[in-house]
């Protein structure tokens, strides 16, 4: 079953056309990694999938909801799509536990005790139960990102979007976060991951999308794309990052 269908997606910022005719499909439980040079439109593409960016043209269907339709209830669709940001974006005035329970309590109307129980389970999963009552300012980058993942999971999403989740981390923190993501992939979460971690893309990705200049230049299974790239631009990019 198709969880994400993107047809002829275009996105411009004023005169600057950043996405030019993007077509993609993500099936249930698939893990898609998006790679490409800086400024190629990877983040913009990802942000169009939950319409954090207004879409200029084309169609995006998320788990059956056409989010380019004017009548769609975006807030509802977004509950099904978790997002993890490079800069974590935890709520600094709330404890770790409150960061995770706020959505379930205020949006789903979950009982506070129930929400906290779920939050603690999620914290167990990301290995941070002992930080439940800390504030984000007291955590390391890697811990913040794992809390951000738990916060997104608390809404029980069908799809998780990751925008360079490890790029702002010290190298020794990267592994913990990737480990959590691997676990999530293993449990069958549908994921779209923009990343510079080629090792992760190779190991966890079901397919890798290479973007450049607002286009999807090449798309393939990791071994094929990394081992035998078809396009010059893909080769040039890979020779720089591998």
């Amino acid at each position: 079953m198709s969880m994400i269908t993107v047809k002829n997606l275009r996105k411009s910022f004023g005169k600057l056309e950043v996405l030019k005719d993007i077509n993609a499909e993500v099936k249930e439980k698939e893990v898609i990694c998006v790679i490409g040079p800086s400024g190629s439109g990877k983040s913009t593409f990802l942000r169009c999938l939950n319409r954090l960016e207004e879409i200029t043209g084309g169609q995006v269907v998320i788990n059956g909801h056409d989010i380019t339709d004017k009548k769609v209830d975006l807030n509802k669709v977004r509950q099904e799509v978790g997002m993890v940001f490079q800069q974590f974006n935890l709520f600094p005035h709330k404890t770790v536990l409150e960061n995770i329970t706020l959505g379930p309590i205020k949006i789903h109307g979950t009982e506070k005790t129930e929400a906290e129980k779920l939050a603690l389970e999620l914290l167990d999963k990301v290995g941070l139960r002992e930080k439940a009552n800390s504030y984000p300012g007291e955590l390391s980058g890697g811990q913040k990102q794992r809390v951000a993942i738990a916060r997104a999971l608390a809404m029980n999403p069908k799809i998780m979007l990751f925008d360079e989740p490890t790029s702002a981390l010290d190298p020794e923190m990267v592994g913990d976060v990737l480990e959590v993501m691997k676990q999530l992939a293993k449990e069958g979460m549908t994921m779209v991951v923009v990343t510079h971690e080629m090792g992760f893309a190779r190991e966890v990705g079901d397919r890798v999308i290479f973007m450049d200049g607002g286009y999807i230049v090449e798309e393939n299974e990791p071994n094929a794309l990394f081992g035998n790239p078809q396009h010059e631009r893909t080769k040039a990019f890979l020779s720089k990052v591998l």
Binding site: G82, N89, F91, I107, M155
Partner: protein, 214 residues
């Protein structure tokens, strides 16, 4: 000393009036400021304009002119009739509201855009995002400037004596001319204002510490 202790009951009565007007006006002013700030930031042109005209009009005119406009000007139309206390409260509230609006707008805009994005990506509506995520953080940052504006508004209430409100300043005038002891009376009035503002600052510091970001 006996001059002052004789005058003190009346001065304190005036202080009561000052504080009564101040507290009501500052609460209304804050709510007005919040609404105007949201108007200013709303993606609706007309609301932006209403907010901008309001803020510019208040900032571009002296307080005393605003007071006369509301008390003498509006009353002269003979459509409504405002007593001096009501007119005083309205003027202080509307005046503070414009400054609060600017403070709140700047506070909201100082919060990182990633906070809104994170909240919206979870599924919060725009209003929920404002209420649970943006305003609580912005408010903490705004506290020092809000305190400042409140102190200015408290001092502005002393101008209300010119429309005959029996506030602390007005009582000072009455006592000074009754006793012919202008120096002592005005010194006492000054000290009372100072103490009130000092207490207000202490309160603000206390609130600030309680809400400090960890």
């Amino acid at each position: 000393m006996d001059i002052i202790s004789a005058a003190l009951p009346m001065l304190l009565k005036g202080l009561q009036v000052t504080l009564y007007i101040f507290v009501i006006a500052i609460i209304i002013g804050f709510l007005v400021g919040l609404v105007i700030a949201l108007f200013r930031l709303a993606p609706i042109k007309i609301l932006n304009w209403i907010a901008k005209i309001y803020v510019d009009a208040i900032r571009g005119t002296p307080f005393i002119v605003q007071l006369f406009f509301i008390y003498f000007g509006l009353n002269s139309l003979q459509i409504i009739s405002l007593n001096s206390t009501t007119a005083g409260i309205i003027t202080v509230a509307i005046n503070a509201g414009a400054y609060f609006a600017e403070i709140i707008r700047a506070g909201i805009q100082s919060i990182d855009k990633g906070q809104t994005e994170a909240a919206r990506s979870i599924g919060f509506t725009g209003a929920q995002t404002m209420r649970y995520i943006i305003l609580p953080q912005a408010f903490r940052r705004m506290l020092p400037t809000i305190t400042n504006q409140s102190i200015i508004s408290l001092k502005d209430t002393s101008l209300l004596s010119v429309i005959g409100i029996a506030d602390l300043t007005q009582q000072g005038q009455i006592q000074a001319s009754a006793t012919f002891e202008a120096f002592k009376i005005w010194l006492a009035v000054g000290v009372i204002y100072f103490i009130i503002i000092y207490l207000l600052t202490l309160l603000a510091n206390f609130v600030e510490r309680r809400f400090q970001l960890r």
